[in-house]
Symmetry: C2
Subunit: 314 residues, 2 copies
């Protein structure tokens, strides 16, 4: 079966459980009052490497056979997937080859380096990223691990909703941000198996709304020019992710950056926790659609907390 | 008995339990590695009004008889105690009269206002603060609630360690910041009753080190000129607090601001939670005295998370 099933999520969970944090759920009466519903925040900003991405990377790395693993793993990414893959590989004592654009922020380079990733810099074009990755794979025999369009990654990300439903069984809705679609598709697989009546909703910035447009038109459209502060959500949907999302997700909403920043600030100030802009999009779509969410029990996966403290939007 | 006993802490806990948050404990492997010991952070930055101060204020307000309470409560404060007292009074449907210096930060004025506190502005001198408070008490019949030098406040702050020891029974040491001494003295009462072998340690900025000097000389000394980023710790020890601290606290350490800022940043970046500078002093003294804390199980009370996001020290 090409598309991961709930059994893959269960297997992923047994595989990665020794390595991941079981992240807590937090709530804020002040935010509930502002939003007009009861929100439960699953804090993947507290996950290892500061993002849910560690779940998928860990599952992908520990799914490899000894032989497959022998040459290490590789990816091109300047974001949380790179750090997640580097740490997961380190835990299995493998090399992780990370292709990063030369102009990636220092903070991201440092994070990957601190987990022992072997960085190769490339020009900041998709073509050069892919060419450089190809070359490294040929030279090292490393296995490429895609950030979202891969069965093991999707199953790994689906373990977050598995914990969430254990911790909080009364959810009417679960919202996750959507970029490439790894977290949203994994969440949908878990929820629609365990509790099909839960509405699974994607949250996307208006300035990078390919998932919204693809979902509405039932045709996978590329993201095109992007303009949003949510720098983790700039990618187009993968084909596997698109297939799962069209089958299992109830809806996708978008939000302008102004509301994303407002939501981010609300979470920082009222909950005293640090989230990155991409993680704030879910609360932003609640604030943009209060009537729809009114009085519901809303689960929000806070996807990550990696943000440059010197470049805050407020 | 003039000094609060552990039974007062127990009574306080039954009194305030319906109103307070039971705050979680978080840990960070990365910080443990840097510090060379195992640290358990009790997150009072997640407490209502964003600080442990709500525990004491709540106990003081709900300890009043109907008659005493009828005129409301009052204090002079520009910090977390003002917000805490305003919310506690609101929950008992009382007036809270808060005297604040005219030049207090807007963010503090807003916080007190948002909890329904009645603010009277005064000149930013201790004399005018006290005169204004005196006048308000005479006019309104309100009961003054001291920020730290009062039995009910100390007993209320002692409930934090009560929860902490329930959650984490293997602590060798508990560290709290010390300003007026409410939290440190309450913590010492609880710990020395429940588990006398725990070392109770105060953490103070070098730039406001009256508690350190008082502790060492066994004489209560005033704070004098202060120079520190830890704006919640500028006050001198109260006489009640001093008495308890000299009896029950094992030691007080100080830290320069440079290490306080480093510790604050470590907690923000590695744990993805927001704490104010005053809350970072405890980790700072661990970093300053690594040999003393090496391999111990160290409990740290993160005292609060109220910080102006526009004025970060990094």
């Amino acid at each position: 079966m090409r598309i991961p099933q709930f059994s893959d999520v269960e297997e992923a969970y047994s595989r990665i459980q020794p390595y991941i944090h079981f992240t807590p759920i937090l709530s804020s009466q002040a935010i509930n009052k502002i939003a007009g519903c009861k929100i439960f925040f699953k804090c993947e900003n507290f996950q290892k490497v500061g993002a849910f991405k560690f779940r998928g990377a860990c599952n992908a790395v520990f799914s490899l056979s000894e032989e497959e693993a022998s040459g290490g793993v590789a990816t091109h990414s300047s974001g949380n997937h790179a750090a997640a893959l580097a740490l997961a590989a380190k835990l299995r004592h493998l090399h992780a080859y990370i292709v990063m654009p030369r102009n990636a922020p220092d903070i991201k380079k440092k994070a990957v380096g601190s987990y022992g990733g072997v960085i190769t810099f490339c020009e900041p074009t998709l073509q050069d990223r892919e060419d450089t990755l190809e070359k490294i794979i040929k030279e090292s025999g490393a296995i490429p691990i895609h950030p979202y369009n891969q069965k093991e990654i999707i199953a790994g990300q689906g373990t977050c909703a598995l914990e969430f439903l254990q911790q909080q069984s009364n959810l009417d809705t679960i919202i996750t941000p959507v970029g490439g679609g790894g977290l949203l598709s994994g969440t949908a697989i878990t929820c629609k198996y365990l509790k099909p009546e839960i509405e699974v909703i994607g949250a996307e910035p208006s300035g990078a709304d390919d998932a919204y447009r693809s979902f509405k038109s039932r045709e996978r459209l590329p993201v095109g020019t992007t303009n949003t502060i949510a720098d983790g959500l700039l990618t187009s949907l993968g084909d596997l992710n698109f297939e799962i999302i069209t089958q299992k997700v109830n809806n996708i909403y978008t939000s302008p950056d102004s509301t994303i920043i407002k939501a981010m600030r609300l979470i920082w100030e009222r909950m005293k926790i640090i989230i990155e802009p991409s993680a704030a999009v879910s609360l932003a779509i609640v604030l943009e659609n209060k009537n729809f969410f009114r009085n519901k029990n809303v689960g929000i996966i806070l996807s990550g907390g990696n943000v440059d403290l010197k470049k805050l939007p407020f």
